[in-house]
Amino acid sequence: MNKEQIFVLAYFGKGKIVPRIFFWKGKVIKVEKLTYSWKTVDEGGIKIHFSIISGSFYYHLLYSLSSSRWYLIDVESTVI
């Protein structure tokens, strides 16, 4: 999927950014488990990536430090 800008309620503090809730397709999605996070750098600056599980879905979220915007990069079902 193409990256899609979303709204996220996140905790910023103690050198950490922790997404808590985000809004997508009219739904409020609560972050149940933050499984992984990593950092990449491109011409737009530093991006922080988050692997998240909520219900039976996996979400890949991205936060751009330079634009302070959140994006949804990928969604997949956790049901195998």
């Binding site: 499984t35 990593w38 330079s66 956790t78």
Partner: protein, 395 residues
């Protein structure tokens, strides 16, 4: 005595993906392109390995072996990021990391107890922080430490007390540097274990293995230098320039790219190299660094081609901050003339011009003759009361 530790992340790419998507924990997983592509498995989880799936295997073959194999597209940026974090951690804890690949590194200590405790601690932190496992081999020889890290994978830890005794009992195929073909040749001579290499007179070894005979003898007697597994061969040729002041100015940035291209050409010509992978590095004023890479359809070495391709890359980048540094490097290096036809320049006129320019530079210095597009740089230096003398040095 120096004690070496070799740290090897277990099925690194697959493990990172499983850490991100823990619901795949019990499934066989491979990192690679999609099943319809002609790509190969980049990394296979230990569950997938139970089906005989391994790195380098074509994906269709992996799917034949395990139809319910989970295939995850590779995310190289993610693996590089995690690798950098892990190596940073090792550097902080051990103080002397020697990275060997994206998922392997060496570190050393003068004390065996020290390296054992550091290795165990590093393994534990990697597991806690990155949710992946690493295997570690420890020995008083670098090559033995590398072999030992494979001993108890995954999450292995193995200390070799007597390196010579250990390596002599090893299958020749277990030794790094002995590939499939060499192993087959050794086997055909009845050599299956390292210790058997010693039974063969050196003249026979020399006859069959030529320059490799020295390496084989060194392995069998363990008189091999620890200065191995070091990337010292030329993989790329490049240079960077840090601007005196951070800049947004296109003409200034391009001027420096041009100068870097000319330096690169000198080096490429001297060593008869050409390359086909061009990378332009940008560093913003806040030290954020990113690169743009382009695989070229042909091999290049001339400054004009390097500059043209680098400019195209530069034009495709939308800078959001002033640049502190710009760099260009040419990878995919190979010896020129071996693969293509000589002479170096297709156009004889170009060839003569190039030779003439290079002889002027050799005689009077690098800056004695410049291209018009580089004038920006030199003009600034002259205006800044830095005068170029006859030999081209700034005074």
């Amino acid at each position: 005595m120096i004690w070496w530790a070799h740290l090897d992340m277990d099925s690194f790419f697959a493990s990172v993906e499983i850490a991100s998507r823990p619901y795949y924990k019990d499934s066989p997983l491979a990192v690679g392109g999609n099943e319809h592509s002609r790509t190969v498995v980049a990394s296979a989880s230990y569950k997938a390995r139970e089906y005989g799936i391994k790195s380098g295997m074509p994906l269709y073959e992996a799917l034949n072996r395990c139809p319910h194999l989970v295939i995850v597209n590779p995310d190289i940026e993610k693996y590089i990021s995690i690798s950098k974090d892990i190596f940073g951690l090792v550097e902080n804890l051990a103080g002397n990391i020697l990275p060997y690949s994206i998922d392997e590194c060496f570190f050393y200590s003068k004390s065996k107890d020290d390296i054992i405790s550091k290795s165990l601690y590093i393994k534990r932190i990697i597991k806690e922080k990155f949710k992946i496992t690493a295997s570690c081999g420890i020995a008083d020889k670098k090559i033995v430490a590398k072999i030992a890290s494979d001993e108890k994978k995954p999450d292995g830890f193995f200390v070799v007390e007597d390196s010579l005794k250990y390596i002599r009992e090893k299958d020749v195929g277990d030794v790094p540097g002995i590939g499939r073909k060499l192993k087959k040749k050794l086997n055909s001579l009845g050599i299956y274990y390292v210790k058997q290499i010693d039974d063969i007179p050196f003249t026979i070894l020399r006859k069959h293995f030529k320059q490799y005979s020295y390496f084989l003898k060194e392995i069998a007697t363990l008189k091999i230098s620890d200065n191995i597994f070091v990337y010292d061969e030329v993989k790329s040729v490049g240079n960077t320039h840090t601007f005196e002041k951070d800049t947004f100015k296109k003409e200034e940035i391009l001027s420096y790219i041009s100068i870097i291209s000319q330096h690169m050409e000198q080096r490429l010509l001297e060593d008869f190299f050409e390359g086909n992978k061009l990378t332009v590095t940008f560093r913003y004023s806040n030290f954020q660094t990113f690169t743009k890479q382009k695989k070229l359809e042909r091999y290049i070495y001339s400054s004009e081609e390097i500059f043209d391709e680098s400019s195209k890359i530069f034009d495709s980048v939308n800078l959001v901050m002033p640049l502190r540094l710009v760099g260009v490097s040419l990878g995919g290096i190979r010896k020129r003339g071996v693969y293509g036809s000589l002479p170096f320049f297709e156009n004889e006129k170009d060839c003569r011009l190039k030779e003439c320019l290079n002889s002027i530079k050799r005689e009077f210095g690098e800056s004695s003759i410049i291209k018009l597009r580089d004038l920006y740089v030199f003009d600034r230096k002259i205006k800044g009361r830095r005068i170029i003398n006859r030999t081209g040095d700034l005074v």
